[in-house]
Amino acid sequence: MSKVIAVISGKGGVGKTTSTANIGLGIAMNMKQCVVVDFDIGQRNLDMILGLENRVVYDMVQVMDSEATLDQALIRSKTNRNLYFLPASQTKDKSVLDSEKIEELLGELRKRFEYVILDAPAGIESGFEHTIEFADAAIVVVNPEVSSIRDSDRAIGILDSKSKKALEGGEVEKYLIINRYNPEMVEKEEMLASEDILEILSVDLLGIVPEDKGVIDASNKGLPIIMNEKSEAGKAYMRIAKRLCGNKVPIEEPKVKKRGLVGKLKGMFS
């Protein structure tokens, strides 16, 4: 049975699109058929993070307007045959989205893929509401800072009141990813700890992704960090993908790395 999962955050710049790309690829690496859909109409970015920007010919809006078929618009990943990408329109704005057309499009995607991952736009405007409207579940991406947490809290409130499931008396499943977690800063009480964030947001934890400088380089190169088996962030995304695929993988809280003598000396001069 297919599952539609919206990746949301409320605040922009927290790593939502990066998470979408890594989760989508991770699910595909777990041998599941997956499509990632860029719902950020007018501000398309997911194509670059997946390294597919030069393959975009048709987009989601053209499919909904019957200007192109779904087969024409879907792009297969260069790195994994189980992963597909449906791009957003870069030349139109969010006002072109229409509930009936979105439901029809998602219905088609449900028939073809086991996982349909929607990358929501930042904010809580109409584009966001359309992304969550037909979702079965939502992944909330949050940074360990108060502004991100408040915006996520707001987004969860809207999810709980305006999604189709909520309007029918049900509840959309919600999972939390804490992104850019820095255990050194947590230890110094300069960053909110994961348990504090969970207490505020009251959402099940899906995973904690540690701060990792390699993520930016990976995104710039169009090679999601999950492909780097040595990266801590990549390993965290793989654990998240496995959990989404139904595997029991324990949550790993990033720990402060004990530095050797050379590391300590470097730290003194940094």
Binding site: I149, R150, D153, R154, G157, I158, S161, E199, I200
Partner: protein, 198 residues
Amino acid sequence: MDDENTFIEFMEANSELLKNHLISVRGSLPERAREFMRNRGMSFVENMELPKGKGGGEFCISSITGGSTPTVSETSAQPAEEEDIYGDRYSYQDPPLMIVEKALRSGQYIEYDGSVLLMERMNSGAKVAALGSVIALNRMEGDISSVGDCIVVPSTKRGNILFHGRKIENDMLKYGLNRISFVNDEIVIQPLSKKEFI
């Protein structure tokens, strides 16, 4: 009370006495007992936990009309107009106590003519404006405005409290549960003392 029938008989016998109080029940009630209490217009909460610290435990809030309205819906965060809060409606007869059993999230807004009881946490960006009292039993980081008899809140660093239009500074809230009320026309903050507990 272990026996459901005994509980209902007790409530029936004392319904007149208890109907103007909030009844805190340790543990969960069977559905038949819940239904009975709702039909009698009794206000009740189950498994209530109070913040730890100075002044905690079970307590009874007197002079609140029975009945409960437990649901809160997402609203657009339109601030209440001043005249709505402090205008003619203040003289209305007490409406039923609103019991909010879910956490109030950022952007969620309750505007109510009566008293409001918040059982779960109130997050930063959430707002309650009440003509009656407001009692927050869990962590409180939102905005509370009340022109009722009192505000009861735990200590808070991020909360924003207005009592009869006057700002209550957070560093004045020193107790596990603080009761903000008028004593001789002055705003006084006191711990919710054990004498007031059931």
